[in-house]
Every structure is written in structure tokens, then in C-alpha cells.
Symmetry: C2
Subunit: 237 residues, 2 copies
DNA sequence: CTACCTTACTTGTATATACAAGTACAAATA
DNA sequence: TATTTGTACTTGTATATACAAGTAAGGTAG
């Protein structure tokens, strides 16, 4: 299979993003001006601006006419939900993943309230459950359902340390571009009580998500339960 | 004060957006092609593409090379949170607002965990509490805190039926461009129990938000409590 | 009838260019 | 000294153009 060439505006986006994530550019810093970026990367202004526009959309920078591109702190998360501790900041904390139900193929029963089409229904569904822990305390419990359309060897892959998004992107050229979500506060039922080791009536955040990808008509679904008593979900909008 | 001219890509964006919102273009329809839009509005492709890019970012359309721009259903909400009933769809339902604490000027005590700078602190804070009801049942309870920087006559305005965002935009040229948020599931304390008429231990969604505006360095803060037992928060990401 | 190819149309990427408008700072002015 | 002006630099808007690449549909050869 031919490797799709990465467009140059995307390369610049990734480059600048990495520099901000690794702390080379800190919050409040100014990025090099558009003209400087043009010269440094042998690109023209529209191309550079496209990369910067993407960084604005993702919340990495703010731009001001006459001033420049101002580096922001936390970016807005696409897909991956960021966490912030009520006391400590995450980062030093140890994040682990425990597979509750290994990926296996079942038939579609539901998709958390989202519609699925006939094609997806006939192909079956890859089902998995994971528990994510911070410092050995469970914080996320999620159920993921993926239509079984041409994803060879998927069920035998390991999902321990690598993110699902990364595997889909690297091995199947599937990128999550956005989606739909429903958010609710609920009280823990028996199953959730067991997973999170909490008492009855403990408040839990529940998010149902439909993830849309770059492959036309290919979506997958996930239901996330989150114990927010020690960590809040944070993000930009 | 001179009225700022609206750029043409934004005019086109608003126009297309309106056509989708009022149902002229329905879910699954194709928008006119870029070249057709160019001809119809006397613009060039880069300008038209900018408007379409914005519609993609807001979740109104998906685009596919070789095919066209496909109209989507619900858009993603900036600032205003959309609701979806578990049984009925919202729309026929009656939405009302009840002012619990009228806008008044107090001193800053907190900003829901977000930082405020010295300038904002010295100017005082406009404080208000509102309750929003659907079919006479309370669903949202929110506290808003706005730095009192040059907002003449703000405390005497009415917030009954008009949205805060609309008033800020129309009268003070303040547009919310994005922000930061923290989401948690909590159980109702006494005050919330009273407002929502729910029992002890009822799960409530709590969102703390910092809203950033087009005026540099001007942000305001809001804390939203939401009873999600009948309505989920929905949105695109 | 089926499989392949061509063609016309679509969006994607990229360059080159021009002027408008906002910001910061230094120089000139009152 | 305090204020205004000018200037250089920044991002914002817009046009014109070219070619690449994906999609759908119709024609053609087998």
C-alpha cells in the first residue's frame, strides 16, 4: 500500500505542536512570526497560516493582529479526554490500563443510543472493555464498540499501553476527525461500584460518544464512565 | 463608534449556516460546489473555502474530495450547551429563565478555580445567578461572574429571555471565542436540592468555565449545574 | 452482462501577491 | 514631562492561478 504523503502544512503543525508540548515554547511565549516561519521552512504565508489556524482550532495558540501567535497552556483535547487532579497536577502520576474484556467479535445489540447502518450491523462488532487507573486508583471505565469492517488482526493487538486512537491511525490509517457526544451525571450501579470501588449513590460522569473518522461512513462508539471525585475532566472548547 | 465591517468569508459562513439551520439544506444534502459558490457570491475559491472550513470546524458539514460538502445534523455548540431529551426532542418544549440573583457588583472571592489577574481583581465583579427551566422543570442553575471592566449599564439590563452571549455581543462587541472548562459529577448539596427539587444524593453535572473573548485579556467565568436525569448535554467535538 | 477505462467534476494542496488593520515602540512635538 | 505621530512589524482579508487526487457516471471492450 502506498504511503500517503503528509502535506507540508500538516508537517509544520506537528512540528510546532511538538515544540509546545515538550516545553520549548512555553505559555505566554510568542511563536516565530508567519514570515519567519515561511523563511525557515521554505513555505509561503497561506501554507504557514493554515498550520497556525489548526493550532488555534486545537487551542494551542491564540493570535492577535499586530502582536503575534501566543502560546496557550493546555490544549483542547480531540478524542482523548484530559484530566486535572483537584490537588496535584497529573504528569508525575502513574497512568495504567487494565483490560477487562479483551477485544472480541460480537453482534450489535446497541450503540449507546446512536444509530448504526445496515452495513455495519451485518459485519458484526468488535467489543472491548477497559479500566484506566491513576496511581492504582480506577478513574476511567470504558466500553468500546467498533464495526468489524476490514480491520485485520485487530482483536489480537495489545491495547495495554498504546492508545486505541494511535493504533487505528498507525495500522489502519483511520483518524478520528470529530464526533457526537452525550454527557450525563449518574449514580453508580452495581457494576460501576465494583469497578471503581465506590459506595452506592456515588456520582459518576457518563459520556456516550460516536467517533467519526476520515474513512467515509466509518464510525465507532464508546461509552465512558469517569469517577470525578479526585480528578476533573478538563478541556478547551 | 465605527461599525466593523464583516469579512466576506464570514458573511458566506453565516448565510450557509442559516440555510442549514432553517432546513433549506437537510442532513445528507450536498452544498453547492466551491466553484458554484464562487460564481454565486462573486468570490474566489480560497475565500469560499475559508467559509466552508469554518462550517467543518463547527460540525455543520463534512467534506470529501471528489464528492462535495455533506450537510450534517446537529452542529457543535460554542459556549451554549445543547440539550437532548431522553424521550422527546427539545424544540416544542418551553424554555424559560428565572433570575435568582440579579446582576450586582461584588468583590472577587473566587473564580471557580481559575486565575484572575490583579487588574480584574481591583475592578470588582458582576455577579448573577440564573435558573433555566424546560416545561417548568428546572434543568440548569448557573452562576456567572464578569470582571467589571467598562460595561456601562450592565447591571440594569434584563437577562430574562435574551442570552448573555447575545447581550455581550450586541452591546459591548464582546464575542466568546473559546475557553477552558472542568466537568465533574457531584451529588446535590442543600442549595442545589432546593433549586432542582430533587432528593439527597441526586447526581448533578457541574461545569466550571472560563470564557475567553475577542477583547484581549478579558475573560469571564461561569459555574453551571445541570440536572441530566431527563435531558443529556449533547454536543459535537 | 461484466470489468475496465475515460472523462468531467469535485475537493486538496501550494504558490505568489497585494493591501488593510492592529500593536509596540521610538521619535517628534507640545 | 506628557502627548502625539510615525514607522516597522505583526496578523487579517482577498484575489488569481496551477496542479494533484478522489468520486461518480457513462462508454467501451471483453
Amino acid at each position: 500500500m502506498a504511503v500517503k504523503e503528509v502535506p507540508s502544512y500538516r508537517r509544520l503543525y506537528e512540528k510546532l505542536r511538538k515544540l509546545m508540548e515538550d516545553g520549548t515554547y512555553k505559555r505566554g511565549d510568542l511563536l516565530p512570526s508567519e514570515n519567519e516561519l515561511c523563511a525557515a521552512h521554505h513555505l509561503t504565508r497561506p501554507t504557514v497560516r493554515k498550520a497556525l489556524d489548526m493550532l488555534v482550532n486545537d487551542g494551542f495558540i491564540l493570535r492577535h493582529q499586530g502582536l503575534g501567535s501566543i502560546v496557550q497552556g493546555q490544549p483542547k483535547g480531540i478524542g482523548i479526554l484530559s484530566l486535572s487532579g483537584t490537588t496535584s497536577a497529573i504528569g508525575q502520576d502513574i497512568l495504567t490500563t487494565r483490560i477487562i474484556v479483551k477485544p472480541n467479535i460480537i453482534s450489535w445489540e446497541q450503540a449507546f443510543g446512536f444509530e448504526i447502518n445496515e452495513n455495519e450491523k451485518s459485519m458484526g462488532c468488535i467489543y472491548m472493555e477497559r479500566l484506566r487507573l491513576i496511581n492504582d486508583r480506577p478513574v476511567f471505565y470504558d466500553i468500546t464498540m467498533i464495526p468489524n469492517l476490514n480491520l485485520p488482526r485487530f482483536t489480537s493487538r495489545t491495547f495495554e499501553n498504546r492508545s486505541l486512537f494511535e493504533i487505528l491511525r498507525k495500522h489502519y490509517q483511520l483518524e478520528v476527525k470529530g464526533g457526537e457526544q452525550k454527557i450525563q451525571a449518574i449514580t453508580a450501579d452495581e457494576r460501576i461500584q465494583k469497578h471503581f470501588e465506590v459506595r452506592k449513590n456515588h456520582p459518576i460522569l457518563r459520556i456516550d460518544r460516536k467517533m467519526e473518522t476520515n474513512r467515509m461512513g466509518f464510525s465507532f462508539f464508546s461509552q465512558i464512565y469517569c469517577n470525578t471525585s479526585d480528578y476533573s475532566l478538563i478541556g478547551r472548547f
